[in-house]
Symmetry: C2
Subunit: 400 residues, 2 copies
């Protein structure tokens, strides 16, 4: 087990109807003025935003709404939200939404006390101060409700970049699975995919085995897979929705990575699939991150598994109860390929695409993706196996 | 999945040689004066206390040592430590030891700002203030390094009682598995037993199933069992020691109970085995808590499993890969009994006792245990199945 530092201080307030608790929770942090950020209006239509506003009113927390945060949130929106927060003199940023809204809220929260341009933080500047962040999660997927991660796009530069820091983990996250009863099947599926990939990025970090952490990883995946299927069949199945929501959080608050990182202060995993996918959704913001991952991760797995077949066989056994029929190389390959097939077929069974063609992408797009990939990741990246731009090209092309 | 509130804010600093980081970690909390509490002197003999002192000196943290905390710590020691902390004007309590020392440190930390007698907190008084707590863990077992629990004995009243509160979870816990290389086999075994029981108390809470949490529970047990065996064979096996140490923490920081509690603000589980065992070690402080649990939990399981055979079959499958040979009642009973046997045999394989006779206890002692059990728990207690004093007597007697 490698050395690690783990701190997940967020207060998770999880249960039926708990949306109405957000006001009391925000007030308990000491905050008096909340900027309430949200997305494209579904929280208005479903009444969630009104419930949040009523709850804040009841708790005596002043608030101003700031809507319109797009999927794959863009730095110009963050810049505008920072101005709005300053004008309102917000002392807390409250996200009502999924990962895009929460990431925009995080960026706003650490942008407010900073004198320079907020994009500096994705160019190496250290985050030294941050307003407290709260959230009411509506889309379980990105895990931003508990994570130290914040991903923002920059359209002008054609970049989508992540920054990590314990300083901007949410102070409190209200997790109310009932809010997700109305989530469309595609969003449900993309969310489940995203959380499974968050776990896999850590599980296949190239470090280990780490029995405690590995069993948490495979146990989370075994729990969430049938819940995903069930939630698409019966959108108001509370236990399925609750299983998905709690998995979303644990997939990305780093409990699934303890002891699997090459450095105690960095996140476990090489994040190869995320790196590869980010370029696709950066160039085409209509691509849902989870759907991109459903295509890319199996392609990455097929390309790299020979680097450490034992690791893939452990995954095969613990997630799918697949074992090689004998010790020969061919049987190992069969077992690993069957495992990757099972995982990909599961994503497809939820309604996720199988190839990049589903996004109207064509092989000629790959050059542009590789250009920004190299800008973001350098000439080589990855933990399980180092990938250069030729490897990345091969993985992209194999996914068409 | 039942509603829950989960917050485990402790900063876990986990790794080889990390004992020497404690000074910097304490200083980072803002503390300037630490009362350093420890136990019977093993931390003096091994040099751990000197390393902690040097690390505090280097970080500019003033400190005073307060040793002699006994196993099953007693309230009079806590009262004296509170006076010492006040005289020293400590602004942080640092435990260097196992669960007994950490629990005594917690009690000292919330006793210092309280005007009345600290025992009031085990008689229903609410804890409103608490000094920050740090620890360097030397005995992985009780999970106090991450838990909201504090158990103290009162010899005068023949009581051993626990109190729970998020307010006294440690701010920072340094987990250095190398410190446990010198832990005697009996302590190692009792610790592994204690953590497995912490998980089982939650798993058999009578609420559920909760797939995410259940898979975490069974995954932790599967990880720690071979590590326990290995650590006794090869005391300096780092990965085994690390697996044990991290399991200790996760077994009791409540991640293994989310969604399994009958109330969102209380801990999951009925804590029947702990309730039953506490009377044994309260009346005979020479009994190591984990060793008492190794005897009591299997006895409790054999007494109650018919209340919910499906729950025990899920445990059988996920921990031991045991399944009934057919659907008949006899096959179910065989599978469950075989599972309890496997668990008990595992404890015995580590060197734990199988019966209460190992503690020089005799059936005539049971009356005295029941008297204080009823004082502590009332006429009925438990979550998986309600137990009255006749049930408790039957379980005790079955364990001779």
């Amino acid at each position: 087990m490698n050395d690690f530092i783990f701190q997940s201080p967020t207060r998770f307030v999880f249960g039926r109807g708990y949306t109405d608790r957000i006001g009391a929770e925000v007030a308990a942090t000491g905050a008096k003025r909340a900027l309430v950020m949200y997305g494209g209006g579904s929280v208005v239509r479903t009444g969630t935003l009104a419930r949040v506003a009523a709850s804040l009113d009841e708790a005596g927390v002043a608030h101003e709404e700031y809507g319109g945060i797009r999927p794959n949130p863009e730095v110009n929106q963050v810049r505008a939200a920072i101005e709005a927060a300053r004008t309102f003199q917000a002392d807390l940023i409250l996200a009502v939404g999924g990962g895009s809204v929460i990431d925009a809220a995080k960026a706003t929260a650490f942008g407010v006390p900073y004198d320079g341009d907020v994009w500096d933080f994705w160019s190496g500047t250290k985050i030294e101060a941050c307003l407290p962040i709260a959230c009411v999660l509506t889309i379980p997927a990105a895990g931003s409700e508990g994570s130290s991660s914040c991903v923002i796009s920059n359209d002008e530069l054609n970049l989508k970049r992540g920054v990590n820091g314990d300083i901007f983990r949410p102070a409190v996250s209200v997790l109310d699975p009932e809010l997700t009863f109305t989530l469309p099947p595609y969003q449900t599926a993309a969310g489940v995919t995203d959380m499974i990939v968050h776990i896999c990025e850590r599980y296949f970090s190239g470090v280990g085995p780490v029995p405690v952490t590995d069993n948490i990883c495979t146990g989370l995946i075994r729990a969430v897979m049938p819940a995903g299927t069930r939630a698409i069949e019966a959108p108001d199945d509370y236990d399925a929705r609750a299983t998905i929501m709690w998995t979303s959080t644990l997939a990305h608050n780093d409990i699934a990575g303890c002891g699997r990182s090459s450095s105690p202060t960095s996140r476990a995993g090489g994040w190869e699939s995320h790196g590869l996918e980010h370029e696709i959704s950066a160039h085409n913001p209509a691509v849902t991150h989870g759907a991109g991952l459903a295509v890319i991760m199996p392609a990455w797995m097929r390309y790299v598994w020979r680097e450490d077949p034992a690791r893939f066989l452990a995954f095969a056994k613990d997630v799918f109860d697949i074992e090689p029929v004998d010790e020969g190389e061919e049987a190992v390959a069969d077992a690993v390929e069957a495992t990757i097939d099972e995982l990909q077929n599961y994503f497809v069974s939820l309604g996720m695409p199988k190839t990049l063609g589903a996004f109207d992408a064509v092989p000629a797009d790959v050059d542009a993706w590789l250009e920004t990939l190299e800008q973001n990741k350098g000439a080589e990246f990855g933990g399980f196996r180092r990938l250069n731009m030729d490897d990345a090209r091969a993985i992209y092309l194999s996914a068409f």
